[in-house]
C-alpha cells in the first residue's frame, strides 16, 4: 500500500468512503467466481471485518461534526455522484457493518443447519450484496443513488428470505409479498425523486436541500414529499404499511432475520430522516403537519397495536417480528417530535434496538437449531438445558422492555424527556404504558423458558460456541451501552444536530 501512498495524490484514507461499499460489492462476485464452499464463509467474514474497520475509521473522522465528501469517478458534485459521510450516516454504517460482522460467525452454524450446502455460496453472495446495498444507501449523497442501492439490498433480501423455504415453504409467499410491497415502495420513492428533479433540476442531496430552501414549498415538492414518505414508509414498515414484515421475519433463515431486523429497517429510517429533515425543510407547514398528524398517530398506534398482537403470539420469532413494528413506532415518534432531543432518541434507539433485536433473534436461531422450532411449547423449559442462551435472551428481553441498566432504557428515557420538553406529556404516558405491554410479552418468554417443565423426552445440548459468542457479544453490548450512556447519546446527538440543521447540516 505504501507504494501507492507515496506516488499518488490520494491515499488509502481518502478512499475509505468508497471502499466501504466496494469491499462487500467486490466480495459478492468473488465468492461466486471462486465457488469454493470452504472459502465462501471466510471471504464474507473478512470482507465484513474490513468494512467494520472502515466504518470505525470513518466515524472517528466525523464524530466531531465534520463531513467527508468523495467524488465518484472524479466528477465533482452536484453533477457527479458524491459519497458523503457525516455523523448520522457514519453511525448507521457502524451499526450495519458491526451487526454483519457479529452475525456472520453466528450464521455459519445456523446456515449449515437451515440451508442445503449447494446454496451456501449463493447465500453468502446475496448476503454480501445486501450489505453492499445497505451501506450504499447510508453513505451516498446522491438521491437517485439511494434508490439504486435500496434496490440492490431489497432484491438480495428477497432472495435471502426465500431461502427459508427449505425449512418452511411459507418463506416463498412471504418473500413474494415483500417483493410486491417493496417494489411498490421503491417505485413510489422514485416517483418522488422524479418530482424533486422536476422542481429543482438536481439530484445531489446537499444541492436539493439548498434549492428547496430557496424556492420554498410548492405543489410539486409537497407531492414529492408525500411519495417519498409513503415509499420509504413501506420499507420502514410504518404501522399500516407493515404487513410484509411479520411473515418475512418469521420464515426467513435465522441469520437473515437477525441481520435484517437489526439493519434493514434502521437504514430505511435513516433515509426517512435524511429526506424529511435534511433535504426537505422541516419547517414547511406541510411537513410539520404530516409528521404531527399522520406519522405521530401511526407511531403511537404501532406501539400499542403491534405490542398487543405480539402478546398473543404463540411463536417466539413471530412475536419478536411484531415487537419490531412496535419499536419502529418509538423511532418514528422521535422523528415526529422534530426536536433535537427527539432525534437523538430516534438515532440512539435505532442503534440500541438494533443490538437488542439482534441478540433476541440470535437466541431464536439457537432455539430453532436445537428444538427445531420456536413455538413456545417447543422451547419451554429450555432455561435449564440451555442456560447461556436463555440468559442472553433474558438480557435482550430486558433491554427490549427498557429496564434501567440496559441499552433500551437509555433511548426510551431520552424519548420521554423529549416529549416532556415539547409539552406532550400524554405521549410520555403512552410510551410508558406501551412499555408495560412489552413487559407482558417478554415475561411470557421468560416464563416459558424458566418456569415451565422441559418437554418430556428432550435433551437439548447448549448451543455451539460459534453461535453463543456472537450472541453474548451483543448481549453484553446491550448492558455496556446501558451504562456507558455518553457514547451512544453523544454520537446520536451529533448526528441529530447535523440532521436538524437542515441544509446547513449538509454543507
Amino acid at each position: 500500500m505504501s507504494v501507492e501512498a507515496t506516488q499518488t495524490a490520494m491515499t488509502l484514507t481518502d478512499h475509505l468512503p468508497v471502499l466501504q461499499v466496494v469491499v462487500p460489492l467486490v466480495t459478492a462476485p468473488l465468492i461466486v467466481l471462486i465457488g469454493s464452499r470452504r472459502l465462501t464463509w471466510t471471504l464474507a467474514f473478512v470482507a465484513s471485518v474490513i468494512s467494520f474497520a472502515i466504518a470505525i475509521l470513518l466515524l472517528m473522522q466525523v464524530i466531531d461534526g465534520s463531513v467527508i465528501s468523495y467524488n465518484i469517478g472524479g466528477w465533482a458534485p452536484p453533477l457527479g455522484i458524491e459519497y458523503r459521510v457525516d455523523a448520522a450516516n457514519a453511525f448507521v454504517l457502524l451499526l450495519v457493518t458491526g451487526i454483519s460482522t457479529v452475525v456472520l460467525p453466528y450464521a455459519r452454524e445456523s446456515v449449515r443447519s437451515e440451508i442445503p450446502a449447494r446454496h451456501h455460496t449463493l447465500f453468502y453472495a446475496a448476503f454480501m450484496l445486501c450489505l453492499t446495498g445497505l451501506l450504499g444507501v447510508a453513505i451516498t449523497g446522491d438521491a437517485f443513488n439511494v434508490f439504486v442501492f435500496l434496490e440492490i439490498s431489497s432484491l438480495s433480501t428477497y432472495v435471502l428470505i426465500s431461502m427459508g423455504s427449505y425449512r418452511d415453504k411459507r418463506a416463498l409467499t412471504a418473500s413474494y409479498d415483500y417483493l410486491i410491497m417493496g417494489t411498490i415502495g421503491a417505485t413510489f420513492f422514485v416517483i418522488g425523486l422524479g418530482m424533486l428533479y422536476m422542481a429543482t433540476g438536481t439530484l445531489n442531496m446537499a444541492d436539493l436541500a439548498e434549492r428547496i430552501a430557496d424556492q420554498g414549498s410548492n405543489r410539486t415538492i409537497r407531492a414529492a414529499f408525500a411519495f417519498i414518505v409513503v415509499g420509504m414508509g413501506l420499507k420502514v414498515a410504518i404501522y399500516p404499511l407493515h404487513l410484509w414484515l411479520p411473515n418475512a421475519y418469521t420464515y426467513a433463515p435465522s441469520a437473515v432475520t437477525t441481520f435484517l431486523a437489526a439493519t434493514a429497517t434502521k437504514v430505511a429510517i435513516y433515509v426517512l430522516l435524511r429526506f424529511t429533515l435534511s433535504i426537505f425543510q422541516p419547517n414547511f407547514l406541510f411537513q410539520v403537519n404530516t409528521l404531527e398528524f399522520i406519522i405521530l398517530p401511526f407511531a403511537i398506534l404501532a406501539m400499542f397495536a403491534a405490542s398487543f398482537i405480539a402478546i398473543f403470539q404463540t411463536d417466539f420469532k413471530r412475536m419478536l417480528a411484531y415487537s419490531s413494528i412496535a419499536q419502529i413506532g418509538y423511532m418514528l415518534l422521535g422523528i415526529s417530535l422534530l426536536s433535537e432531543n427527539g432525534l437523538t432518541a430516534t438515532v440512539a434507539h435505532l442503534f440500541n434496538h438494533g443490538i437488542t433485536k439482534a441478540t433476541l433473534f440470535m437466541g431464536v436461531g439457537i432455539l430453532v437449531l436445537r428444538a427445531g422450532g420456536s413455538f413456545y411449547n417447543r422451547i419451554q423449559g429450555m432455561g435449564e438445558t440451555m442456560p447461556w442462551t436463555s440468559a442472553a435472551i433474558v438480557i435482550g428481553g430486558l433491554s427490549l422492555i427498557g429496564v434501567p441498566g440496559t441499552a433500551g432504557f437509555i433511548s426510551k428515557w431520552v424519548l420521554i424527556e423529549a416529549t416532556i420538553e415539547k409539552g406532550w406529556w400524554p405521549v410520555s404516558v403512552l410510551i410508558v404504558l406501551s412499555s408495560l405491554l412489552a413487559v407482558i410479552y417478554v415475561w411470557r418468554v421468560i416464563e416459558t423458558l424458566y418456569l415451565k417443565a422441559p418437554l418430556a423426552g428432550t435433551d437439548y445440548k447448549e448451543a455451539p460456541l460459534s453461535m453463543l459468542i456472537p450472541m453474548w457479544i451483543l448481549a453484553l453490548a446491550c448492558i455496556y451501552f446501558g451504562f456507558a450512556t455518553d457514547v451512544t447519546i453523544n454520537a446520536a446527538r451529533t448526528a441529530a444536530q447535523g440532521l436538524l440543521a437542515g441544509s446547513a447540516g449538509m454543507l
Partner: protein, 145 residues
C-alpha cells in the same frame, strides 16, 4: 382551487395524464388480481408509468438528441434534450427486469411447493397450516393478524 379545463391543462399535461392512468392501472392490477403472475404484470405496468414520467420530463421542446457532433464544435443555438432522466431510467429499467425475473422465479417455486399461484388458494393453504400449528402448539388465541 378553481382551475379551468383549458387546453394547456389537458393536452399540455398529456404525459402526466398518461402517467397517472398507467400508474393507477398498474396499482389496481397489483391490488385486485389474485393471480400472482398478473400481479407481476401489474407491477410492470406500474413501473413503466414511472419510466414514462421520467423520459417525458427530460424532453425539451425543440430539443434534439444530446449527441455531440463529431467535430466537437457545439453550436450554441442548438437546444439539446436533457439526457439525464433517460440515463436514470436505464438503471430503473434494469432494476425492473431484476424484480420481474425474481418475482417470476418465486412464482415458479411457489407453484412447485403449493401447487397453485392463486392468492385465495394460497391464503387458504397457509391458513390451514397455521390452524394445524395452533392446534399443536397450544393456545388457539394466537393466530395471524
Amino acid at each position: 382551487m378553481g382551475f379551468e379545463l383549458t387546453q394547456e391543462y389537458t393536452l399540455g399535461h398529456l404525459n402526466y395524464w398518461l402517467f397517472s392512468v398507467l400508474m393507477m392501472t398498474g396499482l389496481y392490477i397489483v391490488v385486485a388480481k389474485g393471480n400472482l403472475v398478473k400481479k407481476i404484470v401489474g407491477l410492470n405496468i406500474f413501473q413503466t408509468s414511472v419510466f414514462m414520467l421520467y423520459i417525458s420530463m427530460g424532453k425539451v421542446i425543440g430539443g434534439t438528441a444530446p449527441i455531440f457532433p463529431l467535430d466537437m464544435e457545439i453550436d450554441p443555438d442548438v437546444i439539446y434534450t436533457n439526457p439525464l432522466p433517460h440515463v436514470l431510467i436505464l438503471t430503473a429499467i434494469v432494476v425492473g427486469i431484476a424484480t420481474t425475473s425474481l418475482g417470476l422465479a418465486l412464482i415458479v417455486r411457489i407453484q412447485e411447493e403449493f401447487n397453485t399461484i392463486e392468492e385465495e388458494d394460497l391464503l387458504q393453504i397457509e391458513r390451514a397450516i397455521a390452524h394445524s400449528e395452533n392446534a399443536i402448539h397450544g393456545e388457539p388465541m394466537g393466530g395471524r393478524a
